[in-house]
């Protein structure tokens, strides 16, 4: 597998305190990685370091990846601009890339089709449901043709059904387009449904990063969650134990 980002000995200090210390991390091409851990251990901070938004860290990040390749970022709270309608929010990325107006129109239509939101162009974020807002945020991010998509608990505010639908949409898009995904989630089911690897950042004095390979075959993951097979239970238990030991540090 080709590595897109390699982070060595990554540490983040605020004041005199380390939030996490000595983290080694690798994101490969076309891979989906879920990052989990207790609240406050620095998951969002680690994500921002990896996508180049936080340059105040110790350690080494390979290749200045984010300077060379386009990335996508969806923060925890939605990043739609309230004064722009759906079309204009997606267009924002193309404006920043200095794409011509005529081309923007075509691209926006293409992306709206991908996220199944054709017909909503003139609506504003305040008119949209939670799930629709997330779709627009995804479309906005896809406009940059990202190599890696960084998602910070993107579906946490959605109901169960909407979350399920968004997970399936994300997987379909990832399969079609081939980008990597680095997603923060608190939902074990979600992590198992979509990711190839699950990273658990523990708390305490400098974090530890545990890696769990998702051994459930990709095509069976959503199926497995419905049937609660032994394989699914095994993965769930491993995650639960890791989370419990993180919380007890």
């Amino acid at each position: 597998m080709t590595s897109l980002i390699i982070g060595n000995n990554l540490s983040k200090k605020i004041g005199d305190r380390y939030i996490f210390k000595g983290i080694d991390i690798e994101i490969n091409r076309k891979e989906i990685i879920a990052l989990m851990g207790p609240s406050g251990v620095g998951k969002s901070t680690l994500l921002r370091i990896l996508c180049g938004l936080d340059k105040n860290y110790e350690g080494k990040l390979s290749n200045n990846f984010v300077k060379k390749y386009p990335i996508g970022y969806v923060p925890q709270e939605l990043s739609l601009f309230p004064w722009r309608n759906v079309r204009q929010n997606i267009e924002l990325v193309f404006e920043l890339r200095k794409v011509k107006k005529s081309q923007r129109v075509i691209e926006v239509k293409r992306l709206l089709e991908k996220v199944e939101l054709l017909g909503t162009e003139l609506l504003y974020p305040e008119d949209l449901s939670g799930g629709m807002k997330q779709r627009v945020a995804l479309a906005q991010v896809l406009g940059n043709d990202p190599e890696i998509m960084f998602l910070d608990e993107p579906f946490s505010a959605l109901d169960l059904q909407s979350r399920y639908n968004m997970q399936k949409l994300l997987l379909r898009l990832q399969n079609e387009i081939g980008f990597s995904v680095f997603i923060i989630t608190h939902d074990i089911t979600e992590a198992i449904n979509i990711s190839d690897r699950i990273l658990i950042l523990s708390g305490g004095l400098g974090g530890q990063l545990k890696i769990i390979e998702n051994t459930i075959p990709k095509l069976k993951r959503f199926e497995e969650s419905k049937h609660s097979s032994s394989l699914y239970k095994q993965v769930s238990m491993e995650l639960y134990n890791s989370m419990s030991s993180s919380n007890s540090l």
Binding site: R48, Q76, W83, R97, Y124, P125, K133
Partner: protein, 256 residues
């Protein structure tokens, strides 16, 4: 139906006010307030009908309007970019606020003697007072607005390789339009208070001067005409801003 009810309530309220005023004058109430020299509403209205045929009355209005408008436009052109810069850069913020926090609490009336010395003519000094009246509310609101811009929206532009100019045009200015509107709405009221005060003390034309001159020449009906004219001008100034808010600026007040 609801709007009709609101209109009825408002008209009733004005009628009660006018009736109370008329009765206080009619019965020549002297205690606790002295209504002996106060003209009745009917006298004021009669006098106002004559003033509406007097070109000097409209000249006074236009002169005050010009002064307020000039002051507000200057306040926006200086206060808005200064507020944006102070919101972005903490060094500029500290420089600006070290000075402005000293001058901001000073009442507009206290500026009049100094500006009378500083400016060569009366016009400049009056416009300066209207400028100061609008400048501080605009500056403070814009800086506060800048402080409320969510970091996540800045990240979206940065992650897509947007530069400072992109942030300014696509995020900062649209986001703080609502703050600028609030500052301007407050500033308009303060500018009107400022212009009346300055014209009272040093003007030769203007509705403030008209009102004060009426008092000094015992034309009490015109004092009320001046006061209500100021009130109406202030009301329409705010109304224009509210119309702008609900039309051209409508999208900038949307929330998530």
């Amino acid at each position: 139906m609801r709007n009709f009810r609101i209109i009825i309530i408002r008209l009733s309220s004005i009628s009660i006010f006018l009736s109370a005023w008329h009765l206080l004058v009619y019965f020549n109430i002297k205690d606790p307030l002295y209504f002996n020299n106060i003209p009745s509403p009917i006298k004021v209205i009669d006098s106002w009908k004559d003033e509406l045929l007097n070109p000097i009355y409209f000249k006074n209005i236009s002169v005050s309007l010009y002064r307020v408008l000039t002051g507000i436009i200057l306040a926006i052109f200086i206060g808005f970019p200064l507020g944006v810069l102070a919101g972005i850069n903490k060094y500029i913020y500290n420089c600006v606020f070290a000075v402005t926090e000293i001058f901001r609490p000073i009442p507009l009336l206290a500026y009049v003697p100094i500006v009378a010395i500083l400016f060569h003519g009366v016009e400049g000094s009056i416009i300066f007072v209207t400028f100061i009246g609008a400048f501080f509310p605009i500056l403070v609101n814009v800086v506060e607005g800048m402080g409320k811009i969510p970091k996540r929206l800045v990240y979206i532009i940065e992650v897509n390789n947007g530069r400072f100019f992109d942030k300014l045009i696509k995020l900062y200015i649209p986001y703080i339009t609502s703050a600028l509107y609030t500052g301007t709405l407050v500033g308009v009221g303060a500018s009107w208070m400022g212009v009346i005060t300055a014209e009272t003390l040093s003007g030769t034309f203007g509705i403030g001067y008209y009102t004060w001159n009426a008092y000094q020449t015992f034309q009490y009906e015109k004092v009320f005409i001046g006061m209500f004219t100021i009130g109406i001008l202030g009301f329409f100034s705010s109304l224009i801003l509210r119309i702008l808010k609900s039309t051209i600026l409508k999208d900038f007040f949307r929330v998530m």
